[in-house]
């Protein structure tokens, strides 16, 4: 697809424009706060303080960010191949099965460092399986991936309710959840990482899967920009017909891309299941799959952008909880609005502020050229 817009310097493209979009999204969110009859600046103060005010708060912020790095990467990988994987929510949910099975099987006999690699493989496997079918249907039968992944989100939700109420629930228990895992199913906290900076993690469930998320981000960077497969994916994303001419097997790339994307979404399940609750509960994903869309859009599908974008959403989730606590008329649903506004302004309306910014740069460029000719 050709863009009818002039090319801008990198820092404008990847720095200024996303920041302008983000600022507008927050401005509108501020208006909503005003509409509710509260002070937006006070809300902003509670947001920042709630996210960074104490070591424990920072721990929570990074805990949420871990989740969003995984789902953001999942969406981004698919974006590079021109696919819109809206099914991160379902893939993460089903990925939980892999984590739960590994933990239920080995948690009482093995230490965490044996269970963890198995849980990683399990979560990625189940997430990839759940993305395989939509990918295969797109590649072979031409079914639109957006629609099938939406459908698979709902199917996943029904499947998991069935599994958690009938199959994975311990006998005699009423609650739709697995049993609580023993020591082997619990990931160690990263308290030492925060204590380097003199911070105390407290009760925050900031755990080792954060490091896995960073490793995954690096792996995605290598995959997309340093491997043949990544090159083929990007080629297909830019121009499917060029990819076909170049002899790239389209259906193979679609299926592989979707499975990588689903695997990354599935690995998100490690963080809440093994890192916080130590059991699998209903709805443990809590919309993180959809946050991934906002994170990938904000981060321009680049791991270097996704990590800060994920931390930004971590700030929103943790700081948002603080706002809800301090200002009773603003509940946590405020986060959902901000998330929607970010998706709207950084995604659908990303070109709204581009023409004026481009014009400003064109004018500056002309003036610079004029100065140069005068000097010569």
């Amino acid at each position: 697809m050709s863009t009818p817009y002039a090319k801008l310097p990198g820092w404008v493209e990847y720095g200024l424009i996303p920041l302008v979009n983000l600022a507008v999204a927050f401005l509108v969110a501020g208006l909503v706060v005003l509409l509710v009859g509260e002070n937006p600046f006070e809300a902003a103060y509670h947001l920042i303080n709630g996210a960074f005010g104490r070591g424990e708060y920072i721990g929570f912020t990074l805990y949420y960010a871990t989740t969003f790095i995984f789902t953001g990467l999942a969406v981004a990988v698919a974006f590079h191949a021109g696919l819109f994987n809206i099914g991160g929510e379902g893939q993460a949910y089903v990925g939980g099965i892999g984590v739960a099975l590994a933990c239920l099987w080995l948690d009482q006999v093995m230490p965490w460092y044996v269970v963890f690699p198995l849980a990683i493989l399990g979560s990625a496997f189940f997430g990839a399986i759940w993305a395989f079918l939509p990918g295969w249907l797109q590649a072979r039968r031409g079914s639109h991936i957006v629609i099938t992944t939406i459908m698979f989100n709902f199917i996943a939700s029904s499947l998991m309710v069935y599994l958690l109420t009938r199959v994975l629930k311990p006998l005699g228990s009423m609650a739709p959840q697995t049993r609580t895992f023993a020591e082997g199913g619990q990931l160690p906290k990263l308290d030492w990482l925060l204590s380097i900076f003199g911070l105390n993690v407290g009760t925050a469930p900031f755990n080792i899967s954060f490091l896995l998320a960073l490793a995954a981000a690096f792996a995605v960077w290598v995959l997309i920009w340093r491997t043949r497969l990544g090159y083929e994916m990007r080629t297909m994303g830019h121009s499917p017909s060029a990819a076909r001419y170049a002899g790239i097997r389209e259906s193979r790339i679609v299926v592989i891309t979707m499975m990588i994307s689903g695997g990354l979404a599935g690995m998100m399940a490690l963080n809440p299941i093994m890192g916080e609750q130590f059991r699998m509960q209903l709805d443990f994903v809590q919309g993180a799959g959809f946050v991934g869309i906002a994170v990938a859009l904000m981060g321009r599908s680049h791991p270097g952008g996704i990590i800060p974008a994920a931390i930004l959403f971590g700030v929103l989730y943790q700081g948002g909880a603080e706002i809800a606590f301090e200002m009773p008329s603003i509940s946590r649903d405020m986060i959902v609005i901000i998330q929607g506004l970010v998706i709207l302004f950084a995604g659908a309306l990303e070109n709204m502020f581009r023409p004026p910014i481009a014009r400003a740069f064109a004018m500056r460029g002309e003036r610079a050229a004029l100065v140069q000719t005068k000097g010569a």
């Binding site: 957006v146 929607g340 659908a348």
Partner: protein, 323 residues
């Protein structure tokens, strides 16, 4: 006649749950036929339901509620239109954004204005739709076969229910028998040709998006003014997505849309009715399977195993006029 009685009750609840689906799926039909994909049916319906509940509670008038629902829904449609038609943004992304904004905003505003945990106050008579009873419905109720069919199946629904089913032939007529409809379908297949004929692609698509907004407004108003007395947070509960599935299942045709909605509505009604009770021959079917069935059926259809669903050709592609 016990089986017959059960069937009538089942079909009656099928009609009741199908109404919002019919409105929303027809709404989607208008935009998607014009080449604008819309996954924000859910959000528009939810926003409309909230506006209807809030306005009817404050004004004590069902009609004010209905107008508010349509206004809010059209406004959201215009946001989607602005992003996807004027700004040529990604239509899926815009739809996702609207769903989120509405899901959050209805709770925040509802809590701020009414302080009932995201609900709007329960509506009294006059502020909500009443059922319409056909003449003589009570008199012939005891007549076998014909009585229950007339009294329970045809009579005794809300005004909006009849409107929903009337909208099916009306939409067909608009889309397939008027000049506007012809152009609207053309703009979804080949906008370049429409542009060459000197007709504004942009304005046509905006009109299609407004039609979508109006119909979603009805869907939302039905939820909070007819089906229940007031707005409850998240009350659309995925109905917008089911409507989207029905639209695809119907291969973007108005009459098929009605049957697809009735089928999905029937599955819903059946799931509620059965509640895990065993079926003859099949045995016990988990409720979750029944709930997932509309989505599974749609995926199977999309896979081309039951006919082929071919979307409008220019769907999802913003129109760039050559310069």
């Amino acid at each position: 006649m016990d089986f017959f009685h059960v069937l009538v009750v089942l079909l009656e609840s099928t009609i009741r749950v199908s109404v919002p689906l019919v409105f929303a799926a027809l709404a989607g039909l208008f935009t998607e036929r014009a080449g604008v994909f819309d996954i924000s049916l859910e959000g528009k319906m939810l926003g409309a339901a909230f506006a209807a509940g809030a306005a009817a509670a404050v004004s004590q008038s069902v009609w004010v509620g209905l107008v508010a629902a349509i206004l809010v829904s059209v406004l959201l449609s215009l946001v989607h239109g602005y992003a996807s038609i004027t700004q040529r943004g990604n239509q899926i992304v815009s739809g996702v954004a609207i769903n989120f904004i509405v899901a959050g905003a209805t709770v925040i505003l509802g809590e701020a204005w009414f302080r009932q945990g995201g609900r709007t106050p329960a509506l009294v008579e006059g502020a909500r739709f009443q059922v319409v009873n056909f003449p003589g419905a009570d008199a012939i109720r005891d007549v076998p076969v014909l009585g229950p069919v007339y009294a329970d199946l045809l009579s005794g629904h809300f005004l909006l229910t009849y409107l929903a089913f009337a909208m099916v032939p009306i939409s067909w007529w608009i889309l397939f028998r008027t000049r506007f409809g012809l152009r609207l379908r053309a703009v979804g297949e080949n906008p370049g040709a429409v542009d060459t004929a000197g007709i504004s692609v942009i304005w046509l698509r905006y009109r299609a998006v407004i039609c979508c907004g109006i119909l979603c407004g009805f869907a939302g108003a039905y939820l909070s003014l007819a089906m229940t007395a007031g707005f409850v947070k998240g009350m659309t509960a995925g109905k917008g997505y089911i409507a989207l599935a029905a639209l695809i299942f119907a291969k973007w045709r108005p009459v098929n849309v009605m049957f697809a909605c009735l089928l999905f509505g029937f599955l819903d009604a059946l799931a509620i009715r059965l509640q895990g009770a065993p079926l003859p021959l099949i045995g016990q079917v988990p409720v979750q399977f029944m709930q997932a069935l509309p989505y599974i059926l749609t995926v199977i259809l999309l896979a081309g195993f039951i006919g082929k669903a071919i979307p409008p050709k220019a769907g999802g592609v913003p129109y760039v006029k050559e310069r």
